[in-house]
């Protein structure tokens, strides 16, 4: 019996068109737009000025505060300006715009193809490296990795989980990475195990990727510190709390973090980035992005420099199809629709999905028929129908009592609702309003 999480979940069509496409390297574009906020937490502060010459891998914005991350240049060239540009958030954010010339890397980055599996660094050094290299969670939430690797005082960690689930339909970037950089991911996992001081790690992979499971198992070759666990396909298995539940049976308490049950979860892509940072001294300035969609002529997986406009990626995948209606950054369940093709790729961009116009519009909303499908689909045991009606009426305090803050915004409720009700739209409204109210209270 394959494991999965017990409560809720849905089965969207997988559409993993690009699972068989090897990662292609996309050359740097003419200009890159690098936002100073590519992570959860405080924006980084720019350390370069207009006219400065930068090299690939050079620090251009420094982490500000504890929960923040360094930003490095992904290209070599000249800083043309620092300005506000619309980024993935849908709003204008401070960005560093660099005109590219050549492709000159910082000399201390190890560009050799050799795989270094021997880990020489101490836990402190590893955490420092992650901070220096601006490593963040590449699964989508982009939480700074150095923060996650530091176990808070009074908490104990005894398990590292490497998240290779990739439960979002369409996306295959982690899948390809596990197939092509398996050795590096395993080393990355071992590096993080040392930083956390744990002796056990599990790599969780859904069984729609049997090749990745087989490949990693073969590489591990019976090693007893890391195991690979196949999981029954169900969305949102890639959610931290769902994955922990599926693999260990432990349940992260409401409002708590994985560390409360002694677990740290890191994405497979993050493990690769950690490997590169610690063993190869390479900051996080490029990542694998799946560019896909039924209407694209050459969908694929690309290794892309951060700051590359989305338009370049679509060009590489065969150009923008005539009837495109929607472009999503991320997967179709949790990704953000883009208003502008010039939006830059950031550290958290796992995929670009192109939808034709006829699949881009939401159908007409009907009345709630109280079918309770949203309740059974919710992986967090919430009642989306109730939360939506409370949000419509502005009863945010009651939403708090109904645990709206536990919502992981996986979208299962809106996905399954037969009346096409915008459940998640209203739940998000409730969540953000509540968080704003709480912040205001704590300021007082």
């Amino acid at each position: 019996m394959l494991k999965t999480f017990p409560r809720g979940g849905v089965h969207p069509p997988e559409n993993k068109l690009t699972a068989g496409n090897p990662i292609e390297i996309l050359p740097p574009p003419e200009t890159v737009v690098i936002p100073v906020t590519q992570h959860l937490g405080k924006p980084a502060v720019a350390t370069v000025n207009k006219g400065d010459k930068v090299l690939v891998g050079q620090l251009i914005a420094r982490a500000e505060g504890f929960v923040s991350a360094n930003i490095h240049s992904s290209v070599s060239g000249t800083v043309s300006r620092i300005d506000t540009v619309t980024d993935i958030s849908g709003y204008k954010q401070t960005c560093i715009i660099i005109d590219v010339s050549g492709d000159e890397w910082l000399s201390d980055i190890d560009r050799s193809p050799d795989i270094i599996t021997e880990i020489k660094h101490s836990p402190e050094e590893i955490i420092q490296k992650c901070l220096d290299c601006g490593i963040v969670g590449l699964g989508g939430a982009t939480f700074p990795t150095h923060v996650k690797l530091k176990v808070p005082a009074g908490k104990k960690c005894n398990l590292l989980i490497i998240n290779g689930v990739e439960c979002e339909p369409w996306l295959t970037s982690d899948h390809r990475l596990m197939l092509e950089k398996g050795e590096e991911i395993i080393t990355g996992a071992r590096i993080m195990m040392r930083a956390l001081g744990v002796t056990k790690a599990i790599i969780g992979i859904e069984n729609n990727k049997p090749d990745a499971i087989a490949h990693l198992s073969r590489l591990l070759n019976g090693a007893n510190d890391i195991s690979v666990q196949g999981l029954k396909v169900k969305y949102p298995q890639g959610g931290e709390k769902q994955l922990i539940k599926a693999l260990t049976g432990r349940e992260v308490p409401s409002g708590g973090l994985p560390i409360d049950v002694g677990v740290v979860v890191q994405n497979a892509g993050t493990a690769y980035a950690v490997y590169e940072a610690v063993q190869k001294n390479k900051p996080l300035f490029e990542r694998v992005v799946t560019v896909t969609g039924k209407s694209l002529s050459k969908p694929g997986n690309f290794l892309v420099r951060v700051g590359t406009p989305v338009a370049k990626l679509i060009e590489a995948a065969g150009g923008l199809p005539e009837n495109t209606g929607k472009i999503i950054s991320g997967g179709p369940m949790m990704g953000k629709a883009l208003a502008n093709l010039q939006t830059p790729v950031v550290k958290g961009t796992s995929g670009i999905v192109v939808f034709p116009a006829e699949e881009s519009q939401r159908p007409q909303v009907g009345p709630c028929i109280r079918c309770s499908k949203c309740v059974s689909a919710c992986p967090m045991g919430l009642e989306p129908y109730l939360l939506m009606s409370l949000a419509e009426k502005g009863l945010f305090e009651r939403m708090k009592a109904e645990k709206v803050t536990d919502c992981i915004e996986c979208g299962s409720c809106s996905y399954i609702c037969p009346a096409h009700r915008p459940l998640l739209d209203y739940i998000r409204l409730g969540k953000t309003t509540l968080f704003k109210m709480m912040r205001e209270k704590s300021v007082k």
């Binding site: 506000t84 619309t86 958030s89 709003y91 204008k92 208003a339 209203y426 998000r428 409204l429």
Partner: protein, 288 residues
């Protein structure tokens, strides 16, 4: 037959009587003393329960008024000075006259002025669209146009102009309760001093982008060129975050800034057609 009727009357009558007696004693026993003035003041208040005073409903406001030592800071925007004078009389306290205000929508980004650059599909509510992204135009500060403010207005003082896609305040109906100000997720609506004949001069823009992008997104955006700031003799204009702002309490309605503004972001409303400039100055002086 008559016997049955008699019995029914006796039984029901006695039950009713007993209940009445019990009710009387219970209500005597559990009586809570309330200042009788609260009721009188509540009568005097407009009873709109709009919350414009900052309290939940007129009753709470009446209680606060009775408790308060001075009426300073307590104001019913709906009733205005007359109601507050009545209240002061009832309480035997001094009336504090507060300036009447009116809601002003600070955005001119009509369909004509702001080209659409994307199509929003989802719940047609500003508060939800605002969470998602900057909006259908490249101005990420201006009006989204889904009418949360109109929905919030209890006095029918706002409507959506179908031609421009922007909300409009009906000055005569606006009581400055501030519900629209709270409803707008982008802080576009502001309560400003109400001048005679509803005359208004204000910067009708909230775009904090640099001049170039702001102008590109909207033809009538404030580009923070400082021209209005330089021409204002009364210190009413400040420029912050690439945006000019006119303090309505310092403004004398001299209208100089309006002619200076290169993008028509400063709006004048309800003024007679322009005369020679000197005369205009005279008029403002007589008004003072």
């Amino acid at each position: 037959m008559s016997h049955t009727i008699l019995l029914t009357v006796i039984v029901l009558g006695s039950v009713g009587l007993a209940a009445a007696v019990i009710l009387y004693f219970v209500s005597q026993k559990f009586k809570v003393y309330e200042d009788p003035r609260i009721d009188i003041i509540q009568e005097a208040l407009p009873g709109a329960n709009c919350g414009g005073c900052g309290f939940t409903g007129c009753r709470n406001f009446a209680e606060a008024l009775v408790k308060a030592d001075t009426l300073d800071g307590l104001n019913c925007p709906v009733g205005g000075a007359t109601v507050m004078a009545d209240v002061a009389k009832i309480l035997g306290k001094e009336a504090v006259v507060s300036e009447p205000l009116v809601a002003v929508v600070r955005c001119q980004g009509s369909y004509e002025h702001r080209p659409r650059t994307s199509a929003y599909d989802g719940v047609k509510e500003c508060r939800i669209a605002h969470l998602l992204y900057g909006g259908e135009t490249d101005c990420h500060y201006g009006c989204l146009g889904y009418g949360d403010c109109v929905e919030a207005c209890q006095f029918g003082a706002m409507y959506m102009d179908e031609k421009t896609g922007l909300p409009v305040v009906i000055d005569e109906k606006c009581v400055a309760c501030g519900a629209c100000v709270k409803a707008c997720p982008r802080n576009i609506i502001e309560l400003r001093k109400k001048f005679k004949k509803d005359r208004k001069i204000y910067v009708s823009c909230v775009n904090c982008d640099r001049g170039g992008p702001a102008r590109k997104a909207c033809k009538v955006a404030c580009i923070a060129c400082n021209k209005c700031f330089n021409v204002c003799k009364f210190g009413a204009i400040t420029i912050q975050n690439n945006l000019a702002y006119i303090d309505s309490f310092k403004c004398t309605l001299c209208r100089k800034c309006v002619t200076e503004c290169p993008t028509s972001a400063i709006v004048e409303l309800n003024f007679p057609p322009r005369k020679a400039e000197e005369e205009a100055v005279k008029e403002t002086l007589t008004q003072k």
